[in-house]
Each structure stands twice: as C-alpha cells, then as structure tokens.
C-alpha cells in the first residue's frame, strides 16, 4: 500500500456494510411508491389510477421486510427491543422503531380500507381458514353501504395525507442519521436528509414503473401508457431535484475547500472514482437526464416509450443503489486520520454478505406475491371501483 496512506488502527474495518446499504434502499422504495399512492388518493392525479393499488401493496410488501437488514447487522439483534424500550432522546436511530411501527400500521390500515369491498366479497365467497382470515381483515364487518364507503374514502384520504409526513420522516431520519455524524466529512451535511428523500422517491417510482411494465408483459396484458407517462414526468421532476442536490453537495464542498475536503476529494477521485464518477454520475445520472428529457418532452411511439421507460427506470434503480453504496460504504473508506483510505471486501457467506443481500432482496417480492393473492394488485381483477 502507498506509504502515505495512513488509516487509524480502528478504522481498518468497515462496520456498516451491505446491510446498511440495503436498508435505506428498501425504505426508499417504500417512500417512492407511497408518493405515487399519495398523488392519486390525496392530490387526485387520475392518470395514476391503474397503479394506485399496486403502489400501496408494493409499499406494504417492502416495508414488511425493511427491518431484516438491520436485524442481520446488529451485533446483538436479540436486544433490538431496547431501542423502543429506552430510546435515546438524542439519537436518530432510536426513532427507527417508533417511526417504523407507525408507518407499517398506517400503510396496513390504508390497504385494508382500500381493499375492504374486495375482502368483504371474498369473505362471503370463501370457507374455512381463509374465511377467518378475511373476517379479521375486514374487522368482521360486512357493511358496504354508501355511507360506509364514503366514510372509508374520507378516512383513506386522511390517512394517506398524514402518511406523507410519516413517509418523509421514515426515510428522512435515515438521511439525518448520516447527516448528523460530524466525524465523517462525507456524511455530515444538512443536505443529507434531502438527498436521501428525493433519491428515495426516484427509486420507488422507478421500481413501480419497471415492475408494472414487466408484470404486465409477463402476463401479456396491456399497459396504461398515460399512467406510465405521468409516472415518468413525476420521476423526472424528483430525479432532477435529487441529482441537483447530490451534485450541489459535491461542488459546493470542492469550491469551499475547507479542512476536511481534501479527504473527501481523495475519496471521490481515488477509491470511488469508478463507482461514483463513472457509474453513479456518468452512466446512471447524466444519461437518464437526457433519456428522461427526451421521454417527457418529445412524442414517441408507444412501444419505444414503454421500452425506454423501463430502461430508464432500471438505470435509476441502479443509480440510487450506487448512491447508497457510495455514501454508506464509500464514506467509511475514509479514515478519520484524514490521511488514508481503507478497503472494503464484500464476503459471500458473511452474516452481512452477498448471499444475505440476495435473500433479503428477494424476500419483499415473495411477500408481494403472497399479498397479491389476498389483495389483487390490479383494478381489472377483483373488479371493484377504487
């Protein structure tokens, strides 16, 4: 290793590895899909109707699996309840338990209320254990009178509306968790919660678009192009914001050139050159800016549009993953000695290793599949009005 490279003895090991990259990624997907649901249920963007329910179930599936990466990371997962029993008043991380509980209860309630007509019908048509399940899910009520549906509609709107600040805090606190660490010069910035939040929205909307197009293609069903167009427009807006803030962070520090800047600069131009400048910024940010600009501003044939919408969504999903990687793991490569960088070697079979990542990424899709059997994802199934 370079003779000038000096890493503090305790800085050699990267403590927050792939599990901590995965957790913000999963909650980010939740946030983004919830934004789409909010745009439909609260702001009345009618063109999003085809994926309105899908976005809610998608958010629920991913949120239900969001805690697993954290449990795999903790040295003492059996004590994780301590965070809720004695949360520290000054720690962003101690808010995690409470915010997560509120968010998952909220989304679960919204899903139950949105699907109540479907579930009541299924309760009446099923037998045995499924019937019990549907009774529980409908709170043992079969009342589908216009009054009850109107009440449901109002409550759904209210819950989704308060869900917006809840979702904001759900992902914003993760940004603040990093932004509040003054010891790490690449993390400590007031922009961190904002960057995390906007890139979360980008990842969630991209995931919905990609999943929508792929699932409909597999089932050989038509895709509502107007819906995808609306999503792409919203995606473009959020992405421009996210990318601008990410670049603002880097450029303002490289202009200010304060004491710790040389360490960050060495990181971005050194160990992170390929993963940051080439991949995250070049291929996965600059290219989508042009792709999104073209898709939003110029008329395109439907098949071309669908293909590139899916492609740009895929690239943006990668961008957000790279951003999380570069922030979480990249930030820890810098030693607090400001004189060197350590290395990160992902393991295959570690508790926080690559295999675990693959399992935990597949898990939400399995949950989504199971949930889709109870809560039909598309409005043309179950045939009830939203």
């Amino acid at each position: 290793m370079d003779a000038l490279n000096y890493v503090f003895p305790n800085d050699l090991h990267v403590h927050w590895s792939m599990m901590i990259v995965l957790y913000p990624y999963l909650t980010g997907l939740v946030d983004g899909s919830f934004i789409v649901a909010a745009l439909y249920y609260v702001f009345g963007v009618k063109s999003l109707k085809p994926i309105s329910r899908f976005s809610l179930v998608f958010a629920l599936a991913f949120l239900s699996c969001a805690m697993f990466p954290l449990l795999m990371h903790l040295g003492r997962p059996e004590r994780n309840h301590n965070m809720m029993i004695t949360p520290s008043p000054t720690s962003a991380m101690s808010g995690a338990g409470y915010i997560y509980t509120v968010a998952i209860v909220l989304i679960a309630l919204i899903v139950l209320l949105v699907y109540r007509p479907v579930l009541v019908k299924r309760r009446q048509e099923s037998k045995g254990i499924l019937k019990v399940l549907y009774r529980v899910l409908t709170m043992d009520s079969t009342n589908l009178s216009p009054e009850s549906l109107e009440l449901d509609r109002k409550i759904i709107k209210f819950l989704v509306a308060i869900g917006i600040p809840v979702a904001t805090i759900l992902h914003g606190y993760v940004g603040f968790l990093f932004g509040g660490v003054k010891a790490n010069p690449s993390w400590s910035t007031p922009l961190m919660p904002v960057i995390f939040l906007f890139s979360a929205c980008v990842s969630g909307i991209s995931a919905l678009v990609l999943a929508y197009i792929v699932i409909k293609k597999i089932r050989k069903q038509p895709v509502d192009t107007a819906c995808v167009r609306t999503c792409i427009n919203i995606l473009a807006g959020f992405f421009i914001l996210a990318f601008s803030f990410e670049m603002l962070e880097v450029f303002s520090h490289s202009y200010l050139r304060t004491w710790y800047h040389h360490s960050v600069e060495g990181l971005l131009n050194g160990p992170l050159f390929y993963s940051f400048w080439v991949w995250q910024v070049g291929i996965c940010s600059v290219l989508p800016v042009f792709l999104l600009g073209w898709l939003c501003l110029f008329p395109t044939k439907e098949t071309v549009f669908k293909f590139f919408a899916a492609a740009v969504s895929f690239i943006l999903l990668l961008q957000v993953l790279l951003m999380r990687w570069n922030v979480v793991i990249g930030g820890q490569l810098m030693s607090k000695s400001t004189r060197g960088y350590t290395q990160f070697h992902p393991e295959w079979f570690d508790k926080e290793g690559i295999l675990t990542v693959m399992v935990l990424v597949s898990l939400p899709f399995i949950v989504l599949f199971i949930l889709s059997r109870i809560f039909p994802l598309w409005l043309d199934e179950g045939n009830v009005s939203a």
Partner: protein, 177 residues
C-alpha cells in the same frame, strides 16, 4: 347482527388503542430498574464497570514479595519500568493472595528484542534527553563485544548500569557527564 356503517372504524381504533397500551405496558415492565438514576442510561452499569477485575497491580505490589529484586530495581535507571510489562500482569501470578501461576522470565534473544523496543536508535523518534539509545550491532562493535552477545550479558536487566558502573570502578574509568 349486521355491522353499522362505521363498526369497522370503531374496531380499528379500539385495536390501535389496545396495541398502544400494550406497548406502553411493555415499556414500563422491560425498562431496567436503575435506568434514569443518573441519566438516560442504566445506572447499575457504572458500578459494573467499577467492579471489573483489576489484572495489573503496581510495582509496589511486586516488590513487596520480591525484596531482592526490589533493592536492585529501585537502585537503577530501570526503576520507572513496570515489572508487569516484561513479566506479565499480577493477576496471572497471584490469586486471592496465593501464588498460582509463574510469570515468564525472558531469556536470550527475547531479551534483545525487548531491550530494543525502547533503546533502538534506528527508530529516530526517541528523544535523547528521555532515554539513551544505541544502534545494533554497532553498539557491540564499539564496546568490543562479540556481536552474538545479548544485552543481558553486560547489563543487569533490572539495573542496567549496575555491572557497567562496577566494571568502570574496577578498571578506573571516570564517567564524563
């Protein structure tokens, strides 16, 4: 009996209230008793830390049972060195007032390595006014000693200048200071 139009909402609210109450009760039950005694942490942890096993003692405790070494050690320049550094911690040797393990005594080449930890002049950062340093094997060559010699063949490890000064006395060399 058919449910009213808002029965499901009432049941949801009831469920939430029960859930919150259970959570609050769990918090009360599971919070450790000494939590909050001095601040937002478990007060007993302070006493637990204070009760940790002390493994090293001080030179005074070694020298109290080893008076022969005490006399030599306290008379020499190495009086500031901890016995436990070269020999090992007290807790590996005495337990409940009784000797139960033998602490290692370094021999031959190990002594040379140990001495050079402090006295090697090749590591430039050792201030001369704090410690005398030598370069090996030049030190042996200038003192006209075989280079295969270890440090303890001329220097008493507990009082390094004891034999040197005695030898100088015998030969009649006066030390320039």
């Amino acid at each position: 009996m058919p449910s009213r139009y808002n029965s499901h909402i009432k049941r949801i609210i009831l469920g939430l209230v029960v859930f919150a109450a259970l959570g609050f009760a769990a918090k009360l039950v599971l919070t450790p008793k000494s939590f909050g005694k001095y601040g937002p942490y478990r007060g007993d942890a302070i006493d637990e830390e204070a009760a940790l096993e002390i493994r090293h003692k001080t030179n005074a405790s070694c020298l109290s049972c080893h008076p022969y070494e005490a006399k030599i050690h306290l008379a020499g320049l190495h009086k500031t060195i901890s016995c436990e550094f070269c020999h090992g911690p007290y807790a590996d040797h005495v337990k409940d007032g009784k000797v139960y393990g033998k602490l290692p005594v370094k021999k031959k080449e190990e002594i040379k390595v140990l001495c050079l930890r402090c006295h090697n002049k090749a590591i430039q950062a050792r201030p001369g006014e704090v410690i005398k340093t030598v370069v090996m094997p030049e030190h042996l060559e200038t003192q006209k000693v075989k280079v295969s010699h270890t440090c303890d063949q001329c220097h008493h490890v507990h009082a390094p200048l004891k034999y040197i000064n005695r030898a100088k006395q015998i030969v009649g060399i006066k030390e320039k200071n």
